[in-house]
């Protein structure tokens, strides 16, 4: 590869094409080649006496601020989309999918029992909570980390977010229907949990309220 700076003004046997023409050539080659092209390859493809490095530099400058630009890729050069226009190369499609049962249950427990630790969620659900489920809810910004629990190990707690409240049209998590309402809506069985006194319903609400106060 000839370094243009080192090349003295030459008297070549063959007249090299004018620089503007060389620039056109580099442009066409960079455009049509499937891979980035090195200066040596350019030289090999252009007529004798051409100075691809210099032509390349002209071209690079010409494309400055354009929708595409001449960029260096390792030892080679290529024409690429301007970084700020990358959004044009994406076709966004939004797909709405129902949250999985595990995620809904986890979310419900966080909403009703917040702040709640992972261990507590698992205890209530009776099954372990996968990392993916919690991550998904965190990513959706429906739950977030709350204060650490002042208990051994200082476990992190989860609480619901404003985004969650927005989505469900709730002013606060306290607006969530209580067990009583769930029951009267037929969502909970009329049977009281064994060993739990029936008025425990109110206890639950009280407990929930207390937890919210804690927030």
């Amino acid at each position: 590869m000839a370094d243009p700076d080192e090349t003295p003004p030459r008297e070549t046997l063959f007249e090299a094409p004018p620089m503007a023409e060389q620039e056109r050539m580099v442009e066409a080659i960079l455009f049509a080649t499937a891979e980035p092209v090195t200066v040596a390859e350019l030289a090999g493809r252009m007529p004798h006496g051409c100075e691809p490095a210099q032509a390349l530099e002209h071209l690079r400058r010409r494309y400055e601020g354009r929708g595409v630009g001449v960029v260096r890729v390792g030892d080679a050069w290529a024409i690429r989309t301007a970084p700020d226009l990358g959004f044009l190369m994406r076709k966004e499609t939004v797909e709405t999918r129902k949250l999985s049962r595990a995620a809904i249950e986890t979310l419900a427990i966080v909403a009703y029992h917040q702040p709640v630790t992972r261990a507590e969620i698992e205890e209530i659900r009776g099954v372990s909570v996968s990392r993916g489920t919690v991550d998904q809810l965190l990513e959706m910004e429906w739950i977030r980390f709350g204060r650490r629990r002042m208990s051994p190990g200082r476990p992190v707690t989860f609480v619901v977010t404003e985004t969650f409240l927005d989505h469900f049209g709730l002013e606060s998590a306290r607006d969530l229907p209580g067990l009583k309402e769930l029951r009267s809506a037929g969502l909970l069985d009329n049977r009281p949990p064994p060993g739990t006194p029936a008025p425990g319903d109110e206890d639950d609400d009280g407990e929930q309220a207390a937890l919210f106060e804690d927030e």
Binding site: A28, F31, A32, T33, A34, E35, P36, A78, I79, R80, T81, M89, R90, K91, E92, T93, V94, E95, T96, R97, K98, L99, R101, A103, I104, E105, L107, A108, I109, A111, Y112, I124, R125, G126, Q136, M140, H167, F168, G169, L170, L176, P177, L179, L182, A185, L187, L188, D189, R191, P192, P193, P194, P197, A198
Partner: protein
């Protein structure tokens, strides 16, 4: 096969004819052959003598026959048609004869030849154009449009409530029969009371007929009270007991009837 045949005429002429004949497969049909033959007239296609062309073609077919070269059927059909055309062109027109005149037919053949020639030239011009992938090129390093599929997860308040209800009821799931532990049917109460009323000589609060242990559990109390009350009414209807109540919401009392009746 051709070389073995004896051909009439001069060597050069023979070779030319043979070349033409041997190339039969190279012709794209009789029209193409006619076009090739027409070039020997060295005139513009518009001034071509169709009569002379017909004679050339017929001579070609004769030569092929002499060389025992089998011509495809459409070459022979064309030969027959050209023979007919030739006779039409040579003989004075018969006014009784219907259909197009020899001149009309010849003009159409000339048109066909000219049109085929024109298409040949157009095809050549087309192929001589700059072609993509040969003279000009499209983008080599394409950037595919990435299809970004964003999944928006959703749930309704009902989903949430149902989910929570599901968790809260999951622990309580027991076989159905077990559930009846807290429920007393009227039949059970009746059965129980029939045995007990024998001892109830005086007015007794029906609440005392509740089975042991059922009065503390609210659910059991509710169920057994209802069942006992219904059973009491049933016994009264049967004439076995009397019922009384001092005032609304006062305790309901019961006593056996036959003793006093």
């Amino acid at each position: 096969m051709i070389g073995a045949e004896v051909f009439e005429g001069g060597v050069a002429e023979r070779l030319a004819a043979e070349a033409l004949i041997v190339d039969v497969d190279g012709f794209e049909g009789p029209l193409d052959l006619l076009l090739t033959l027409s070039r020997t007239q060295k005139v513009d296609l518009r001034q071509i003598s169709i009569l002379a062309l017909a004679e050339q073609y017929l001579a070609f077919v004769e030569q092929a026959k002499a060389l025992r070269i089998e011509l495809a059927a459409d070459y022979l059909v064309m030969a027959a048609w050209l023979a007919f055309l030739k006779s039409r062109l040579l003989l004075p027109p018969d006014p009784t004869e219907e259909g197009p005149s020899g001149e009309e037919l010849a003009a159409h053949l000339a048109f066909q030849l000219e049109r085929l020639q024109a298409m040949r030239e157009a095809a050549a011009k087309l192929m001589a154009r700059d072609q993509k992938g040969r003279d000009f090129f499209s983008r080599g390093l394409t950037e595919d449009v990435a299809r970004v599929r964003t999944v928006r997860w959703t749930a309704t308040l009902l989903d949430l409530m149902q989910g929570y209800a599901r968790i809260r009821t999951r622990d309580e799931f027991r076989p159905f029969v077990m559930d009846r532990e807290a429920i007393m049917t009227m039949e059970q109460a009746l059965d129980r009371m029939r045995h007990l009323i024998g001892f109830a000589g005086d007015w007794t609060d029906i609440a005392s007929y509740l089975p042991e242990g059922w009065e503390t559990d609210p659910a059991r109390r509710r169920s057994s009270t209802a069942a006992t009350f219904a059973a009491s009414l049933e016994l009264a209807k049967e004439g076995k007991v009397e019922l009384r109540q001092a005032e609304t919401f006062a305790p309901i009392q019961l006593r056996r009837r036959d003793r006093h009746g």
